[in-house]
Amino acid sequence: MSAVAASVMPAPGVLRRSATFLYRRPGLYLVLLLVPPLLWFGTVYLGSLLALLANSFYAIDEFTAKIVYQPTLATFKQVVTQPAHIDIILRTLLMAVAVTIACACIAMPIANYMTRYASPRAKALFYVGVMLPMWTSYLVKVYAWRLILAKQGILSWLLDSVGLGGALDTLLRLPGVGGPSLSSSYLGMFIVFVYMWLPYMILPLAASLERVPVSLLQASADLGARPGQTFRNVVLPLVLPGLAAGSVFTFSLTLGDYIIPSVVGAPGYFIGMMVYQQQGTAGNIPLAAAFSVVPIVLIMIYLSLAKRAGAFDAL
């Protein structure tokens, strides 16, 4: 404190005069604060997005494999008309929807238990317990699932030892979802996606469940509603924003992921893998750019739907 008092005494130095100068001009002060971050975002991030957009309007010359820098819609046409590409988009969309629904169904009881029934200490345990896996290294988790789902891995050992090995084999023989082992089937990929994004669904759901007044539930019960009816008619409408917020994460994260499909993978391609492969081995950046516009558009559509459900009040 004495240091402050002492520095008050002498004639105002440059620092003090500059402070006063800025204090009298809040607008200038604001601009000075905002210039560095906005410059960064403007050049690095918005610049990149513009470059992405620009690239998607170029096309690759089929003979020389060089990018032709002339605006064209040919690449976009390629994305939305080739049957193989439409397959990829539909497959990714289907997976994203399935993962979102599964996450919501699993997260709801957990979030409900931790917000309504758990004692304060148990609640803290639940919050840390949900957040810890969320912050665990992404790649490590994916790798762990590869170990768990592998042929002769933990899961098949577990199922064998309780006598359900045959059931797993039947499941894997199903067309569409099956494969040679869980670690190379759509079913396995689905399990990994659900596991990975589950915390992103639980946390917003729990946040909106916390805000449901207990008195409403009591009133509903007093009026003769069974627990199921109370859930459907009272709780669900109230937590819809949280559900929508969580689903934005699960949906968007699934749409853009390319690591999980390539590590725990069935043979079919996903949007993310297509983008990664086109920019890498194929060297076709325009096609990769045009393909990456697909998840952006899908997410924009989803966001506008979620916004109608009030997702952004819960974020």
Binding site: V4, A5, R16, A19, T20, L22, P26, L30, L33, L34, P37, L38, W40, F41, V44, Y45, S48, A51, L52, N55, I106, P109, I110, Y113, R116, Y117, A118, L125, F126, G129, T136, S137, Y138, L139, V140, Y143, A144, R146, L147, A150, Q152, G153, I154, Y195, L198, V214, Q218, S252, L253, G256, D257, Y258, I259, V275, Y276, Q279, I285, A289, P295, I296
Partner: protein, 268 residues
């Protein structure tokens, strides 16, 4: 009445069991990774483990490629964190109290890199790198990481600044302190732990990032990229587990610190 209400609010033991089982299940993969770091079997993922050994730790520590990747990752994370701390706290200082035109737009812009899928950020950065004829490598990785780390620092700091009572600042000014002194003696000490926590989370996020990094790395290898390549190589698999354990430890320490740095402030 009261006992009835308590009864009404009691969960079935089945629900309790399911909730705890789900919570435990979320931690299984981590345990699996640690378990397999000690296996004697380096070709398959057979369970139960055929034997237990510490051999892979010494193998991992002797491999220089791991250490090179580790150094690269630490360097990237340190620089990206530094950039994010500077830019994030500048934004937080500007946004915490004043309302101005375009404020909503800036919030939106900050969230965009983590709201859009990582692959979009990745391919966008790559498009820009290619269009500008830059060589992808260490510095392009740092630029990418800084961009999505800013919002982490910003969120932490802006939340703390909003809770800082305005009259503290007024009192400081009334006592004759100028803007710099008020910042140095009032604002900075108050936001320090939030800044540190944000920085730690940003560090952990950057150290572990793969989706954007694969696009911007060129031929350079961060630890996650090393890890990713290793997943498709069947040789010496347990070494991958050893590195996984190291990665978890390196990311967990800052996250736990960040948690404890911000927690007491919330309870105060």
């Amino acid at each position: 009445m009261r006992s009835e209400a308590a009864n009404w609010n009691r969960p079935s033991s089945g629900a309790r069991l399911a909730a705890y089982a789900a919570l435990a299940f979320m931690h299984v993969p981590v345990l699996v990774i640690i378990l397999y770091a000690f296996t004697t079997d380096d070709r398959t993922y057979a369970f139960p483990l055929p034997g237990v050994t510490l051999h892979w730790f010494s193998v991992a520590f002797a491999r220089t490629d791991i250490w090179d990747a580790m150094r690269m990752s630490l360097g990237v994370a340190a620089l990206a964190t530094l950039g994010a701390i500077v830019l994030g706290s500048l934004t937080a200082l500007a946004m915490s109290r004043t309302r101005f035109w375009g404020r909503e737009g800036i919030t939106f812009l900050l969230v965009l890199p983590i709201a859009l899928p990582g692959i979009v950020t990745g391919i966008a950065l790559l498009s820009a790198i290619k269009l500008a004829h830059l060589n992808p490598g260490f510095w392009t990785i740092v630029a990418g990481h800084t961009t999505f780390c800013i919002v982490i620092v910003y969120n932490n700091v802006v939340a703390r600044l909003r809770r800082l009572p305005q009259n503290w600042i007024e009192a400081s000014m009334d006592l004759g302190a100028d803007g710099w002194q008020t910042f140095r003696y009032i604002v900075l000490p108050q936001m320090a732990t939030a800044l540190l926590a944000g920085g730690m989370l940003a560090f952990a996020l950057s150290f572990d990032e793969i989706i954007v990094t694969l696009f911007t790395a060129g031929h350079d290898k961060t630890l996650p990229i090393w890890f990713f390549n290793e997943l498709f190589r069947p040789r010496e698999r347990p070494v991958t587990n050893v590195v996984a354990v190291i990665v978890m430890v390196v990311t967990f320490i800052p996250i736990l610190l960040a948690y404890y740095l911000t927690k007491p402030a919330d309870e105060r």
